[in-house]
């Protein structure tokens, strides 16, 4: 017997119009399915946020020294005091100093009887936001007291503050370095891939030569060659250029191999037959195709450059005090005494781990999404 037709199952996805979607929209839809990648994006957003608003988020300024709290542990934030009372406003316990009679070292003692409430948008040490706007508002702080979430170093500087400032420097070095590497790699790789033949041969041999040099000694040599008198900024730029000069090779190879493959595709032949010049084919037809792969490569190159800067500065040959980067902060934690007595100095290392992991997660997601047309 004929059956009445059942109602068409309506897919929830029906209201999207995939046939109108650009490649970026398709990539985003595919990316969204990758949960770890979304976690990575959130982590990165937090890091970038703290890098941009470092001055406001931190309770102190990086140069500020607290003589009353030298080389001391992170101060905990509490809501419930020793008498089991709940306070809506978080607080830290007061600290008093005493001298150890035997070693004559200054010690900080927790005074549970006194509470220092944490205030928000307090007036603290003055600073210039991004070197432009003078203000002294900090997101949180303690009036007539101090709060050190990550502890202090042997000079009494707040590790939390310095870490946030360092985030800005490290991420921006990474960004500038990657941009240089990107441009250099795309151009050189593009030339090799599009023209092929002898040109490609020469460029590939050059790339292989550069890649065969051990990176660490290369960086050390290049940065040791920097004059000691250079200002922080000059050193900063020089370091990023050095890192980019070594980092472009990977991207160039990706661009080249993609281009070699795309060159043979029918749609490229059709573009030639349509009368397009080589330049038009590269810019109009091929570039959008391998743009997504280049972005994947950037998410891999970024942590490499980040780690490279960290390593250099950690070894004392990159950025130096008084500039802050994660590497510079870790430089101070280089000896056994520091690690055993002041383990909180290693917290910037955690930030590095988080940043590299975040980039890797995002990179994984992007790699899956990079070719939204694969079947």
């Amino acid at each position: 017997m004929a059956t009445p037709a059942p109602a068409l199952a309506k897919s929830k996805k029906r209201n999207r119009r995939p046939e109108m979607a650009t490649q970026w929209q398709l990539m985003w839809w595919k990316f969204k399915k990758h949960h770890m990648a979304l976690v990575g994006i959130i982590m990165l957003s937090l890091l970038v946020f703290s890098a941009v608003f470092a001055e406001i988020l931190s309770p102190e300024v990086p140069s500020g020294r607290n003589n009353k709290y030298l080389a001391s542990a992170p101060m905990g934030i509490h809501f419930i005091d020793a008498d089991w009372n709940f306070h809506l406003r978080p607080f830290v316990y007061a600290r008093t100093t005493k001298r150890n009679p035997v070693t004559l070292r200054k010690l900080s003692i927790v005074d549970e009887s006194t509470r220092w409430p944490v205030e928000f948008f307090v007036s603290g040490s003055p600073y210039k936001f991004w070197g432009l706007v003078e203000t002294d508002i900090h997101l949180f702080g303690v009036k007539d007291g101090f709060v050190h979430l990550f502890g202090t170093d042997s000079l009494g500087r707040d590790v939390f503050t310095r870490t946030l400032y360092a985030t800005r420097v490290s991420l921006s070095v990474g960004l500038v370095g990657v941009t240089f590497a990107f441009i250099l790699g795309a151009i050189i790789g593009g030339i090799a891939g599009y023209f092929g033949g002898m040109v490609d041969n020469l460029i590939m041999r050059l790339i292989e030569f550069i890649r065969s040099i051990p990176t660490l000694p290369l960086w050390l040599a290049l940065s040791a060659a920097l004059p000691r008198e250079w200002s922080s900024l000059q050193v900063y730029l020089a370091i990023t250029v050095i890192l980019a000069l070594v980092g472009w090779t990977h991207l160039a190879r990706t661009v080249r191999s993609k281009l070699l493959a795309l060159r043979e595709e029918d749609f490229t032949v059709a573009a030639r037959l349509s009368g397009c010049t080589d330049m038009r084919i590269i810019l109009r037809h091929l570039l959008p195709a391998f743009m997504s792969y280049m972005i994947v490569d950037v998410t891999i190159a970024f942590p490499e450059i980040l780690l490279a800067e960290t390593s250099l500065s950690f070894l004392g040959l990159g950025l130096r005090e008084p500039a802050e980067s994660w590497g510079v902060l870790l430089f101070a934690a280089q000896n056994v005494r520091s690690i055993s007595h002041m383990p909180w100095l290693l917290i910037p290392g955690l930030f590095i781990v988080v940043a590299v992991l975040a980039f890797n997660f995002v990179g994984d997601g992007m790699r899956d999404a990079a070719d939204p047309y694969s079947k």
Binding site: A2, P4, A5, L8, A9, S11
Partner: protein, 341 residues
């Protein structure tokens, strides 16, 4: 299950899991394969013929599953039939059937053999797994099989690697492998589509011999109606996951009943009519995507004989236009309503 029937498919439904939604891919198909006959499953891309073939051996990929129906397999007349749908997806029972009682050959001869193992070893693997013969006996049997499919110099060929074989030779080797354990049923999924026409003729000849001399039963999947005419005994035409017409090959070609079948037959260029170049009849529109299945009869938006308020609201049931010839179309519904004479 009728006697003499090796394979019976009843009301088979296969669904696709797409992002949490269940999309029907095959919607209730029935067919039978009698011993010694060739049944052709014919259709264009997206009709579900390859998926049906994969379902017979439970080879469906993860997003697809059999949601309803039975596949009754009785290779041995004396034994009870086994419902393949009820078996575990990769369990011992189905693995004992695959390659042994029911085997399959695929479309791409270039990629169906592992490039790093010898041909003899790859064919012998099936024999060792199922027939448990000794190494020497296996080798003898492989050489015999290679000879049976017309590979020259089988004693040398057995030790060669696939890359030294041409496309036609590899396809023959694949047929040899599928015959290794004397299966009751051979499923051929577009076996000649990727081959040159002269090689295709040779492979079709081998398959015809298998049918005529050895009584091999086959399910032959293809989109090429010319090949169907040359090899099939019975033909089932599929469209969007349903069988729209089924019957003996002569009747299907001489008196097609379903508008889709009629249109397909007039869409292919025929050699016999070279001198008068009539225009090919094309079917308007194109196959809808799985997500936009038309209501009622899936073919109605493209059908020249579309009946409004009938074809677009109801699904046609099976009607018989002759003893063996069934069609699913409202144009023929009247036939069923007549009482048996």
């Amino acid at each position: 299950m009728k006697s003499g029937v090796l394979l019976e498919v009843r009301d088979l439904h296969i669904t696709l899991d797409f992002d949490g939604d269940d999309i029907p891919v095959v919607q209730g198909i029935d067919f039978e394969l009698p011993a010694g006959k060739v049944l052709a499953l014919v259709g264009e891309s997206g009709c579900g013929k390859s998926i049906t073939a994969q379902a017979l051996l439970r080879l469906l990929s993860r997003e697809l599953r059999i949601s309803c129906g039975a596949i009754n397999f009785r290779p041995d007349e004396d034994q009870a039939p086994v419902d393949i749908v009820s078996l575990g997806k990769d369990g011992k029972e189905i693995r004992a059937i695959r390659g042994n009682q029911m085997s399959m050959i695929f479309q791409e001869p270039m990629s169906s053999f592992s490039p790093i193992h010898r041909i003899g070893d790859q064919i012998g693997e099936v024999i060792e797994l199922h027939l448990k013969l000794s190494k020497a006996e296996t080798r003898t049997r492989v050489i015999e099989l290679l000879g049976k499919v017309g590979i020259p110099d089988p004693e040398r060929a057995v030790d060669q690697y696939p890359h030294s074989f041409s496309g036609g030779m590899r396809q023959r080797a694949m047929i040899a492998k599928s015959l290794a354990c004397d299966p009751a049923v051979l499923i051929a999924d577009e076996p000649t589509t990727a081959l040159d026409v002269t090689i295709q003729a040779q492979i079709l000849e081998i398959m015809r011999n298998l049918k005529d001399e050895f009584g091999m039963s086959m399910i032959f999947i293809t989109h090429d109606l010319g090949v169907v005419a040359q090899i099939a005994d019975e033909v089932a035409i599929m469209y969007m996951g349903k069988i729209v017409e089924k019957g003996p090959v002569m009747e299907i070609f001489k008196s097609p009943q379903h508008p889709y079948t009629i249109a397909l037959l007039s869409a292919i260029p025929r050699l016999g009519k070279l001198s008068n170049r009539r225009k090919l009849t094309s079917i308007q529109g194109s196959v809808p995507s799985l997500f936009e299945r038309p209501a009622g009869c899936a073919f109605h938006p493209r059908c020249d004989s579309f009946i409004a308020t009938r074809c677009d609201t109801h699904i046609p049931a099976k009607s018989l236009t002759s003893a063996q010839h069934e069609v699913h179309c409202f144009l023929h519904e009247a036939v069923e309503a007549e009482p048996a004479a």
